[in-house]
């Protein structure tokens, strides 16, 4: 896990918790908590099993499709809200409601609409990720300095060129939204598959739970955590680079 290897302080505190986990696990008090070393051993088993590869493929597919849809719709929606007052008046309340709402409760409804399969999971990822992307894009567009837009008009920029400039000027905020959307999307894919429970990671979770393979269960959770954190970290790094360039915004 390169993520944990890179940050020394974070790793130090993690190590402490791993030791605590190991000790509690050794007491054999709860079936729920196998020792950490067993989890690590199970992790090797999980990763090398063929069902894991196919589950990962199904999951990644649903995640990527849902996230790309959320990106396209979220950024467009945010642009619309940032540029047009009427669109903002119509949509802002709803976007905020969906952002705050417990979306897991909506998954059964999505399931009725899309059936027990990948489309439901895609829709769940979309619903989890899209609103924060839309809101952050809106904030970014509203924050673009009016003089930058005046400048592009004064020097004869066409409509498309102006939109491109607004997009680039709003990019730091858009990326902040994307980073949060990426994390929420992981939540979405896991919750969607857990509730559908017959495909992807969700099916694996159901399998391990039903067979009391707790070490495998935890191993899978750790893998998902690492996946979400790594993705968020990657986007965070991209963001830092951009903020560096956008540092001159006044």
């Amino acid at each position: 896990m390169t993520l944990f290897g890179r940050r020394v302080p974070m790793m130090a505190s993690l190590l402490l918790w791993v030791v605590v986990w190991e000790i509690i696990g050794r007491f054999d008090l709860l079936l729920l908590f196998p020792p950490f070393t067993h989890v690590l051993a199970a992790m090797v088993e999980v990763v090398t099993s063929p069902s894991f590869a196919s589950a990962m493929a199904t999951t990644l597919y649903a995640y990527v499709v849902g996230l790309v849809l959320a990106l396209v719709v979220g950024v467009s929606l945010g642009f619309l809200m940032g540029l047009l007052r009427t669109a903002d008046g119509l949509l802002n309340m709803w976007v905020n409601i969906f952002l705050a709402a417990p979306l897991s409760a909506l998954v059964p409804v999505i399931m009725i609409l899309f059936g027990l399969g990948t489309p439901t999971v895609i829709a769940t990822v979309f619903m989890f990720a899209v609103w924060i992307i839309a809101l952050d894009t809106r904030a970014g567009v509203l924050h673009v300095s009016p003089s930058l837009i005046e400048m592009s008009r004064a020097f004869g920029a066409s409509r498309t060129q102006r939109l491109k400039i607004i997009f680039l000027a709003a990019l730091p905020e858009i990326l902040a939204g994307v980073r949060l959307g990426v994390i929420r999307g992981v939540k979405g894919v896991v919750i969607g598959q857990l509730l559908v429970a017959i495909i992807g990671i969700g099916a694996l979770f159901a399998l391990y739970r039903q067979n009391f393979l707790m070490a495998h269960f935890w191993a899978l959770i750790l893998i998902l955590f690492a996946f979400a954190l790594t993705l968020a970290d990657l986007i965070g790094r991209l963001e830092k680079r951009l903020e560096y360039y956008a540092g001159a915004r006044n």
Binding site: S145, L148, M151, R153, A154, F155, G156, Y245
Partner: protein, 273 residues
């Protein structure tokens, strides 16, 4: 001495500044601007600006000087009246006018060279050609060696030089400058003013310059249009007859310079108190 024309709706061409009267390149006729149906920013402004001159719009804050400049730029639509530039009515921004912004308005993600070439890029000039032109003007404003820097790596004064290079690069006839030096420190501002005088000589363009600094207006301008606030109107037109061929520091000690500054201050102070 100075030629001051009290409450004259139209300026007297030429004044006593010695240069021959050129045909007006910008004509402002009956311009009014009312914001939100009640705030009268400008009321019935008539002005004509001659080619090749540097004209300042001077006045206390709230006199509508920036509004007038943006109407000439085509960035704002007037409530009433028309603006003609080179005989054509202004309906929006145009290639014969270039704008220099108070807050520089540079693209933070683009290098100095790309920022300076922005207007040319929008006009569809091929990249090799526009880089060549931009490089020339970046050097002209004294930023050689900084072509590949980003705006956040530059000081405020240097950023405004990029803004100036961008405006010069499109080779417009009229340069519209909205308080270009107000966001830079005093030393930089003085250096900048001297450079602007030099650039005027080499570029032969018409400059329309908004400022709230009396000294700056007198130091730089062939003509000063004094605006009075609420509602914005032309209160006076002054042609400061300051000799500009000598040492820049001489100008600031010249009796005509000092007298004109004093005179304008006496005219303006009633709006400030």
């Amino acid at each position: 001495m100075t030629a001051a024309v009290e409450n004259q709706p139209r300026p007297v061409p030429g004044g006593t500044s010695g240069t021959a009267a050129a045909p007006p390149i910008i004509e402002v006729r009956g311009i009014s601007k009312i914001y939100g149906g009640e705030v009268v920013a400008l009321q019935d402004v008539d002005l004509a600006f001659e080619e090749g001159r540097l004209i300042s719009l001077l006045g206390p804050s709230g006199c509508g000087k920036t509004t007038l400049l943006k109407i000439v730029a085509g960035l704002l639509a007037p409530t009433a009246g028309t603006v003609h530039v080179k005989g054509r009515a202004v309906t929006g921004p145009g290639p014969e006018r270039a704008f220099v912004f108070q807050d520089f308005a540079l693209l933070p993600w683009a290098t100095v060279l790309r920022n300076a070439a922005f207007g040319l890029e929008m006009q569809g000039v091929a990249s090799g050609r526009r880089e060549e032109i931009a490089r020339h003007y970046v050097a002209e404003v004294g930023l050689s060696g900084f072509e590949d820097k980003y705006p956040h790596e530059l000081s405020g004064g240097m950023r405004q030089r990029v803004g100036l290079a961008r405006a010069l690069a499109v080779n417009a006839d009229v340069l519209l400058m909205d308080e270009p030096f107000s966001a830079v420190d005093e030393q930089t501002r003085r250096k900048f003013q001297e450079d602007l005088l030099r650039l005027r000589e080499s570029e032969r363009k018409t400059f329309l310059f908004v400022t709230h600094s009396i000294e700056e207006a007198v130091y730089l301008s062939d003509r000063i249009v004094l605006l009075s606030p609420r509602p914005g109107r032309v209160s006076r037109i002054i042609d400061p007859d300051v000799p500009r061929d000598g040492d820049p520091d001489e100008i600031r000690r010249h009796p005509v310079y000092l007298d004109t500054v004093e005179e304008i201050w006496h005219g303006i102070r009633k709006y400030v108190e």
